[in-house]
């Protein structure tokens, strides 16, 4: 196990190194450079810009800038925002809990509903329920998240007035119930796509398993169908399902960004968008990296879990 873990850790570290090089490179290819906004301001002189460049180290060679930035990222010194001058690490970490709350709740909800629908579909293959859930999943996968979010705000917040239209908590603060009410719409909107994926994937995985000998043996022994489905089938489906959870992280992180911008949820996605408007490079880079770190960690975690569940996996890499 230690060997497998070490192998995967080193692999992840190299991935992150590549990720950092790509995002730093992108940043430098950006036309106009980080200070393009200042050049439009008539009160800022050329000397001022040179001074700011020197201050942020932007006048040095690219590889020096990269090494300095990468070392900073690794040690928690993520630079300072171009606007306001707050440390980037503080700005981003302020927003991280909100995003994690949204993502975690949506993932949990999607897991429960999606797996349940998938098992039911597989258990009653070719039934009306099976077809209906297949079509519903396809439509759910095709709905633009931001439009679904807008419609749900119009319906449940502005017309029916059941739930708040956005934000994380009412102005002036609110208790647990108030926070919960704010959470419902964004979580449902974010979870929809995930539910669709989980239900389709669970269904096809279960169908593959239900074809196998040990299921037939269990049935032949006289164990009830529902029990075979849950005890034998679901246990065998665990490995592919955990793998899917890992693969879903990019979708989850991207979906959270879209959902946050529609609902004004004060997380990393909103921060990314406002930093994009002001071209606040250090903040953008940091969020890009945090997003990629989440993806890499998600995959790593899924792989380790799979190795714990299924000992055969470790041998393949050892």
């Amino acid at each position: 196990m230690a060997r497998f873990l070490g192998y995967r850790l080193i692999q992840s570290a190299f991935l992150l190194l590549g990720v950092s090089i790509v995002s730093f490179g992108l940043m430098h290819l950006a036309p106009g450079g980080p200070l393009s906004l200042y050049t439009l301001n008539p009160t800022v002189t050329a000397q001022d810009i040179e001074r700011v460049k020197a201050l942020f180290g932007l006048d040095r060679p690219v590889h020096v800038q990269y090494l300095k930035w990468a070392a900073g990222m690794a040690t928690g010194n993520w630079g300072y925002s171009f606007f306001g001058g707050r440390p980037v690490v503080d700005i981003v970490l302020d927003r991280l809990p909100a995003t994690l709350l949204l993502m975690g709740t949506a993932l949990a909800l999607a897991l429960v509903i999606g797996v349940a629908v998938g098992i039911l579909s597989a258990g009653r293959r070719n039934s009306v329920f099976d077809y209906a859930s297949a079509v519903a999943a396809m439509v759910a996968l095709s709905l633009p998240t931001f439009w679904f979010g807008l419609l749900s705000i119009f319906t449940f917040a502005q017309t029916l007035r059941w739930l708040p239209a956005g934000g994380m908590v009412s102005t002036g603060g609110g208790g647990f119930v108030d926070r919960l009410e704010h959470l419902i719409l964004p979580v449902v909107v974010l979870a929809l796509v995930l539910v669709a994926q989980w239900s389709r994937y669970t269904r096809s995985t279960m169908l593959e398993i239900l074809d196998q000998d040990f299921i037939r043996t269990a049935r032949a022994k006289g164990i009830r169908r529902s029990r075979v489905l849950l005890n034998h089938g679901l246990r065998a489906a665990l490995v592919p399902l955990v793998t899917l959870a890992g693969l879903q992280v990019p979708l989850l992180v991207g979906g959270a960004l879209v959902t946050e911008t529609v609902f004004g949820w004060p997380g990393m996605g909103m921060l990314f968008l406002s930093a994009l408007n002001t071209r606040d490079h250090p903040v953008l880079m940091a969020i890009l990296m945090v997003g990629a770190v989440m993806v890499v960690l998600g995959n790593l975690l899924a792989d380790v879990l799979v190795a714990l569940i299924d000992p055969r996996v470790k041998l393949g890499h050892g």
Partner: protein, 292 residues
């Protein structure tokens, strides 16, 4: 396990699978019909549209559907919504299809080079693919879009360049399998150059999964374009795209809720159709899933 599968196939009543395939098939046909309507409607917009897309009718702003000679009503400037939807369709569908082409060309080239030449070329290209897959594509896309002047071509290029990884992986693994096939060895033996082997032997044999992925990619590209344009980093007004027609939906909702509905339906119809088509193609092309 092979025996079990065989047995299951012979024991299962033949009608069950057939029914399913028929329904799937019907949905794909329906998807094709919807797509045909969307394509004809938007490509033929200059001739079919009831109004001019930028014609202002300030006397009847925010008209509801079927009012004042506007079938789907008018927007905040009194422009005809149906007309704008049709013209917007040109942009949105074109971006989706062009982005898909970029995805396929880049993805195929990366995957094919990596698999065919192997060694360090293959390692570098496939590790690059792994790295690119670590970025949630929406972040990457928004980041690039903020620094590029948006146009139809730049949008297609940006979306294509952030979404090619999946096809690269498919092509890579397909070719690794093909490389050891006898007919490739035969082509090499008679002295065919590698570009010829890639184009004439390998390309046709990887077409099926790539075609499926390309169709699903078109759906995804349309979604991404609509989101970029919705946020204001995509197609710029007064030119219409399905996404930027929704930009003001939130502020206009109290006045005219219909403005938020129709563009979203257009996007959903197009994306659902491409997804169903891709799904149908997968079933039709992959014999293993035919019974499922």
């Amino acid at each position: 396990m092979a025996d079990a599968t065989l047995m299951a196939v012979t024991i299962a009543p033949p009608r069950a699978g057939l029914l399913k395939r028929l329904v799937r098939h019907r949905l794909s046909i329906l998807a094709l019909v919807v797509l045909a309507v969307l394509v004809v409607g938007s490509a033929g917009a200059p001739w079919l549209a009831p109004h001019d897309p930028e014609e202002l009718d300030l006397a009847s702003r925010y008209a509801p559907p079927f009012a004042a000679g506007h079938i789907l009503g008018t927007d905040d400037l009194g422009r005809d919504v149906l007309t704008r939807l049709m013209f917007a369709g040109q942009i949105s569908l074109a971006v989706g299809i062009a982005a898909m082409l970029v995805t396929v060309v880049v993805g195929f080239s990366v995957g094919a080079f990596a698999a065919y030449y192997g060694r360090w070329v293959g390692t570098v290209l496939m590790r690059l693919t792994d790295i690119m897959l670590c970025f949630p594509s929406v972040f990457l896309l928004l980041f690039v879009a903020a620094f590029v002047t948006p146009s139809l071509a730049s949008m297609a290029l940006m979306i294509g360049l952030t979404c090619w990884m999946e096809i690269a992986r498919i092509v890579y693994s397909q070719i690794l399998v093909l490389k050891s096939a006898d007919f490739i060895a035969a082509a090499q033996m008679v002295g065919a150059p590698s570009w010829r082997i890639i184009l004439r032997q390998i390309l046709p044999n990887t077409m099926a999964p790539v075609l499926v992925a390309a169709t699903l990619n078109t759906a995804n590209a349309i979604l991404l374009e609509s989101y970029l344009s919705f946020l204001g980093y995509g197609i710029q007004p007064p030119e219409a795209s399905w996404g930027n027609m929704l930009t003001n939906a939130q502020s206009d909702f109290q006045v005219d809720p219909w403005l938020a509905v129709f563009p979203g339906i257009a996007i959903t119809l197009a994306v659902t159709s491409f997804n169903f088509l891709g799904d149908g193609l997968r079933d039709a092309l992959d014999p293993r899933t035919a019974g499922r």
